[in-house]
């Protein structure tokens, strides 16, 4: 290694800008070929500032640099070098090409094992849905891979950390790990690679291959790794492995962050990489930063962890950075927020410079905010990681129509579902007429639709002939398409249904862009399902379609990821869970922190089958996870969260509370107490 630099500092201190300029300098001043630079980020969205810089006209082009995650690098490398390792790694059919599983497709396989296990009653002692059993078991696999633990080590850590509390938990941990082992065996039998197996193979097998080592040596001469604090322990292992092959390295670390600790990030282990570097630079907040906000971040930090105070550059009143507002009821809090945003926008603030943050973003909060802002012509974009596809009306409609197209399933939807579906897809058919039509033409016993031509003229008139004509087109298409349904997988059938009928002029989804998005997600999910479970096809696809629809109805499949970060580029107010915003790594002028009395601001998700802190290299194996440790972890998480948010704000924070929460209960969460304490202290200081 010729040069290695470690850069650390808080958000907004110019670290990423420094890294971008470093890359520019490598290309322009040192004549490095861009594709020889490995740019490693922990999460796709954190590569955005680089992609934007690389796309600008003044960027020294020539070849392409794509930011990669360790998962992306592992996958691409395994895809390419698969023949070298498949046999050694113990795959039953090493000549088969690997099938890479996404989170969703991994769930397809895991769902089978989970359903079987749930039926045996092994998880009866905890109150958790099959979907969460599935996800937390996959989480255990991922954490094992990220830390390079065996599954036995995971089990023994979880059991030991539970201590001598009531004894139902250890068997449940073991049951989850048994599921994980069965899933892993299934993957080895069928050449399937979920995230955990990709990481394991990459670290344990591929890095040992001389051909791969030569390839890395030739392909990558320079490393830039940003947001190291959010990355996994195996990333440090990989960097150490590659270190001597590189000509240069720039490692970038955010001192206040580490938000992905609950996903397995290892800020402390990553910081140890500084020891490898011959230069360590500590960046300070930019001079132009708002001094009151810096003081606020410092107060948060020192009050939640006096061991790591954040120095404020100038004596400023932190309360100048934050505006409190308390309301009795939740809707009042939302109305007040909408009013303030409206004033800011009227005063010339760009909507993009405003974010509304809450610990969780439920449907009603999202809807109320969006409706309030849209009524005032303020553009808004919201983000939630996922929601079940079955909750979307367009998806429910398609699933209902599928049930009619496959009478052999023996599933007759309720009349209400038929009425909803007809109202959705027949242009101009209002709910009352849709209900009338459904009650006349649909008999749940038979599960079939009868002809519009056969009903009484008076009823035809009420429904309207125009709607009747469309209904007949749809009905006839469903009848005529039974062969199509049997000979095609569910995704293809849905595509035909959408393209040939539902999106045609006169039907409800013609030019309905939102419906197009939802149905496209459904098609994509169905495609992944059958490509993963039935890669070699099957003669009669009807049973596969039934299996898919059943799993979606149970909520086990098909989560939607509708909002993209491209949508977030718009000049719109961004409404999001607080952690999601942090991982966008954006600075904005104004932040609204909603529902600051909620205890969710510091509680982590209840995960009875796994544990983010125990399954970490930093946690001693065999140690009990005590209430004191839990309290300290929560304080630290809250400290990182509020300091991180403050660091990403330029002008001001609106901290808004509702005395009665969304469910009507009184709220006194720790964030509210912290802010109240801060207010009292500063007032007292001022008075003194």
């Amino acid at each position: 290694m010729k040069t290695a630099q470690f850069v650390e500092g808080p958000a907004g201190s110019g670290k990423t800008t420094h890294a971008i300029e470093h890359i520019r300098s490598l290309i322009v001043d040192q004549g490095v070929r861009p594709d020889e630079i490995l740019l490693l980020v922990p999460q796709r969205v954190l590569g955005r500032p680089y992609q934007i810089a690389f796309s600008s006209p003044d960027w020294p082009g020539g070849a392409d640099i794509t930011p990669v995650t360790i998962g992306g690098l592992a996958r691409r490398s395994l895809e390419l070098f698969w023949p070298l390792i498949a046999e050694k790694a113990g795959f039953a059919h090493p000549t088969w090409e690997p099938g890479f599983l996404t989170i969703e497709t991994a769930q397809y396989f895991m769902a089978q094992f989970v359903n079987e296990a749930v039926e045996t009653g092994v998880f009866d002692s905890i109150s958790v849905t099959p979907f969460r059993i599935m996800n937390q078991t996959l989480d255990n696999l991922s954490k094992a891979a990220m830390n390079q633990f065996t599954l036995d080590e995971v089990a023994s850590r979880l059991v030991a950390a539970w201590g001598d509390r009531h004894s139902s938990r250890p068997p449940v941990y073991r049951a989850s790990l048994d599921l994980a082992a069965r899933f892993r065996d299934h993957c080895l039998e069928n050449s399937l690679l979920d995230f955990s197996l990709q990481i394991d193979l990459f670290m344990k097998d591929l890095l040992q291959e001389p051909v791969f080592e030569r390839y890395v040596k030739r392909a990558y001469r320079h490393l830039v790794a940003d947001n190291l604090e959010e990355n996994f322990p195996v990333v440090a292992d990989f960097i150490r492995w590659a270190w001597d092959m590189l000509d240069s390295a720039l490692l970038v670390y955010d001192t206040d962050a580490g938000y992905r600790s609950f996903l397995g990030a290892d800020p402390a282990g990553m910081h140890d990489l500084a020891d490898l570097c011959d230069e360590v630079l500590a960046f300070q907040p930019l001079q132009s930063a708002n001094s009151a906000i810096l003081a606020l971040a410092g107060e948060f930090s020192s009050r939640l962890d006096s061991a790591t105070p954040v120095p404020a550059p100038s004596p400023a009143n932190p309360l100048e950075a934050v505006h409190f507002s308390t309301h009795t009821f939740y809707p009042q809090m939302i109305d007040w927020t909408v009013d303030r945003i409206s004033e800011l926008v009227a005063g010339g603030v760009s909507p993009r410079e405003i974010v509304v943050l809450a610990p969780f973003l439920g449907d009603s909060l999202r809807f109320s905010l969006a409706q309030g802002l849209e009524q005032r012509d303020i553009p808004v974009v919201s983000h939630r990681p996922s929601r079940a596809v079955r909750d979307e009306p367009a998806a429910r409609t398609v699933l209902t129509l599928m049930s009619l197209a496959y009478p052999e399933w023996g599933y007759a939807p309720p009349s209400a579902d038929i009425a909803d579906a007809l109202g959705q897809v027949i242009d101009g058919l209002d709910p009352a007429r849709a209900w009338l039509l459904a009650t006349i033409v649909y008999k749940q016993q038979s599960g079939e639709l009868s002809s519009f031509d056969a009903i009484e003229a008076r009823a035809q008139q009420r429904i309207t002939y125009r709607a009747g004509e469309r209904y007949e087109e749809l009905r006839q298409w469903l009848v005529d398409s039974r062969d199509l349904a049997a000979s095609n997988p569910p995704d293809v059938f849905i595509s035909y249904l959408f393209g040939e009928v539902l999106s045609q002029p006169g039907f409800g989804y013609h030019a309905d862009l939102d419906a197009g998005r939802v149905v496209a997600e459904l098609v994509e999910s169905a495609r992944k399902f059958r490509q993963t479970l039935y890669p070699h096809g099957i003669e009669d696809w009807s049973s596969v379609s039934k299996e898919y629809v059943t799993l979606v109805r149970k909520g086990l499949l098909a989560a939607l990821y509708v909002a993209s970060w491209h949508a977030e580029d718009q000049d719109a107010v961004f409404v999001s869970p607080a952690y999601t915003f942090l991982m966008r790594n954006r600075q904005v002028d104004y932040q609204f922190w909603l529902d600051i009395g909620s205890s969710h601001w510091w509680e982590r998700l209840e995960q009875p089958l796994t544990h983010p802190y125990v399954l970490s290299r930093n946690f001693p194996a065999g140690q009990i996870w005590t209430d004191d440790l839990e309290y300290a972890a929560r304080r630290e998480a809250l400290r990182r969260l509020v300091v991180g948010l403050a660091r990403r704000c330029r002008e001001g924070i609106f901290a808004v509370a509702a005395q009665l929460g969304e469910q009507g209960y009184e709220q006194q969460g720790p964030l509210l107490l912290l802010l109240e304490q801060l207010g009292r202290q500063v007032d007292a200081d001022g008075a003194g």
């Binding site: 796309s55 992306g72 051909v211 095609n488 393209g499 013609h510 491209h566």
Partner: protein
């Protein structure tokens, strides 16, 4: 508005040339429309999958893996036929020079970032550069068809521009570049295009004018739809645009498998979104 980090590719530029409205829906609005694009759907999918696997096999071989090791992963007669043809493709195997499989170049044209993914570049000892592109079309397109494609203009153009930025350590003159399509999926023939300064200037002007067209069109709420409704037969947006045409057959018009594959190489993979 295009995303701030949008990068044009030969596929997106070809989309714009074929139909500005399609470009708008696909790239500006990122609007999915889940209708069937071409049929038979499963046959098309299988063909694309085999094309992807063939490209990967060649890349693996070019990276130094042994043919015997690679042959063990070939389990399909069609893929076997392409692989055998590749092993016997002396045109390539006897060519001296440094190899760059799946090489991505990126340049700025008219203020827009344009990215090209080459199947294989060979830097000849005398300084010439050969661009090789594998075509798994079931039918052999004519040289005229190739010449009219955006790919044939963009690939050599971007290579010359990228070389000026020092990507290959030296400037490459247009006369030193050749573009070779190998029709492995059909006739097995080689279609070769020499390059020269006049063609380079013409291509630069053409691509620049297409990009300016995109800029001009951006001011419109709804971009122009193609007047050639035959294009709509292979476009999933046909119902959205109110074009009452039949769904086209995927091999009738020549799906460009190789470039669908190489344009979509994605190195990103999230573990999961933050679960809050």
């Amino acid at each position: 508005m295009l995303p701030s980090d949008f990068r044009f590719s030969q596929t997106s530029l070809q989309d714009y040339v074929d139909c500005p409205r399609r470009f708008q829906l696909r790239y500006v609005d990122a609007q999915p429309w889940p209708a069937v694009q071409s049929q038979p759907v499963l046959e098309r999918e299988r063909h694309l999958d085999l094309g992807t696997r063939f490209h990967r096999l060649v890349e693996r071989h070019q990276l130094g893996m042994e043919p015997d090791t690679l042959a063990r992963t070939v389990d399909d007669p069609q893929l076997q036929a392409w692989w055998s043809a590749y092993l016997g493709f002396d045109y390539l195997h006897t060519m001296e020079g440094e190899r760059f499989p799946e090489f991505r170049a990126s340049v700025d044209i008219e203020g827009h970032r344009v990215v090209v993914a080459y199947d294989l570049l060979v830097l000849r000892p005398e300084g010439n550069v050969v661009i090789l592109d594998w075509k798994t079309h079931r039918w052999p397109p004519s040289a005229e068809w190739f010449a009219a494609r955006m790919q044939s203009r963009l690939y050599p153009l971007v290579l010359v521009l990228a070389a000026r930025r020092g990507v290959f350590g030296a400037v490459v003159r247009p006369e030193q570049v050749s573009l070779v399509y190998w029709l492995v999926g059909s006739s097995g023939d080689v279609v070769e295009f020499a390059y020269n300064e006049a063609q380079f200037e013409s291509d630069l002007s053409y691509v620049g004018s297409v990009l300016r067209g995109v800029d001009r069109e951006s001011a419109r709420e709804e971009w122009f739809k193609t007047a050639d409704e035959a294009q709509c037969r292979l476009c999933e947006y046909r119902s959205l645009c109110g074009r009452d045409v039949e769904i086209g057959a995927f091999d009738q018009f020549g799906i460009d498998v190789g470039n669908i594959v190489s344009d979509d190489v994605v190195l990103f993979e999230d573990v999961s979104e933050v679960g809050f």
